[in-house]
């Protein structure tokens, strides 16, 4: 931020404040939109939870989540399961409230992100996409003849990147763990 302002001081100083305020206005607009979106999704999520469907979904994904996130708490597993499945359906906005809740549940108060939190961010970033709904919609309205022919390539690529993400986080976690052990020994 500081660097950009410094550059702007040379190029176009009068734009700094107006740009900042206009971006902040965008943020407010986005938040109002998000508030509406979250209203719908949080309502649906509440129903999914009280009806016991969340529990069922978590049960289905539990072995996978245990392996990937190394999380034992069933409540947290449930949140992660719902976050990951919303992401897979291309519902990033529905995934966010659950992601925030899952992060709070994972927080150990140390001020540093732990293994499971890092994993959750990486998985959200690479997320397997079964249905890239927004992109298909945009492409259809741009006059594509076969807007959904990107589903398969997207699925393949996201599958590979998600796998890579999981492996990388595990590998780095292991390497750091070894280093810490060595430090303790010496």
């Amino acid at each position: 931020m500081l660097f950009s302002i410094l550059v702007l001081l040379v190029v176009n100083p009068s734009a700094v404040l107006s740009e900042m305020i206009s971006a902040s206005t965008d943020a407010l607009e986005l938040c109002i939109e998000l508030c509406a979106v979250y209203c719908v999704w949080l309502g649906i999520i509440e129903l999914v939870e009280v009806s016991g469907l969340g529990e069922k979904l978590a049960k289905l994904l539990r072995p996978l989540i245990k392996k990937v996130f190394k999380v034992e708490n069933p409540e947290t597993q449930k949140l992660i399961a719902m976050n990951v499945s919303a992401n897979m359906l291309g519902l990033g906005n529905a995934a966010t409230p659950m992601g925030i809740k899952a992060m709070q549940a994972l927080d150990d108060g140390s001020g540093k992100a732990n293994f499971a939190m890092i994993m959750l961010i990486v998985i959200n970033a690479t997320s397997i996409q079964l249905l890239p709904t927004t992109v298909i919609g945009l492409r259809a309205s741009a006059g594509s003849e076969n807007p959904s022919d990107i589903i398969l390539p997207t699925l393949i690529v996201t599958f590979i990147t998600t796998l890579l993400g999981i492996l990388l986080v595990h590998a780095i976690h292991k390497i750091l763990g070894l280093k810490n052990k060595k430090r303790k020994k010496s």
């Binding site: 950009s4 900042m20 309502g43 509440e46 129903l47 469907l53 409230p97 927080d107 890239p132 996201t158």
Partner: protein
């Protein structure tokens, strides 16, 4: 086809709730109530990141970076036309959708460039935004290696996307 998926899921969910004799309306309202508090809590974080991105764009730093980096991206098999999208994607969701629409307009929705752009959108995420919002309600200050790993994965995904769109 894909338009039916969500409505059908919703119908199934409401049907299941009625079958389970749950007070559907009350619970929906209870859940929806959380939305306002959540948005108020995350607003300052969203505002800050959008301000930072806006400054980066108007100051011309992103254009400058795109120019410098495009030979490197070309060497990795990423066409120059896609460099701006690849650079801005981690920061802004709405911004990158805007770029995607520009690409559709300039090159046609069924061109190689457009199809690559679509797959890139699918395999990448607004990483900085997600990371900021997700940890905004926790005590975490240091994200350790989360962002670098996520960025590396997106880059690999981008390279793969450009490859795979050539054959599929």
């Amino acid at each position: 086809m894909s338009a039916y998926i969500l409505p059908v899921l919703f119908v199934l969910l409401f049907g299941w709730c009625i079958y389970k004799r749950i007070n559907t309306y009350d619970h929906f309202v209870k859940g929806a109530k959380g939305a306002i508090k959540l948005v108020v809590d995350i607003f300052p974080f969203i505002a800050s990141i959008l301000i930072a991105v806006a400054l980066l764009r108007v100051s011309g730093i992103t254009d400058f970076l795109a120019q410098i980096l495009s030979p490197i991206f070309n060497a990795l098999g990423i066409p120059t036309e896609l460099v701006e999208l690849v650079l801005l994607r981690p920061f802004t969701g709405s911004g990158s959708y805007g770029i995607l629409e520009n690409i559709f307009e300039s090159y046609g929705a069924d061109s190689y460039i457009s199809r690559c752009a679509c797959v890139i959108m699918g395999c990448s995420e607004t990483i900085f935004y997600v990371a900021t919002v997700y940890i905004s309600q926790t005590k975490v200050k240091k994200l350790a290696y989360a962002i670098p790993v996520a960025l590396v994965c997106s880059l690999v995904g981008t390279i793969l996307a450009c490859l795979i769109c050539k054959v599929m």
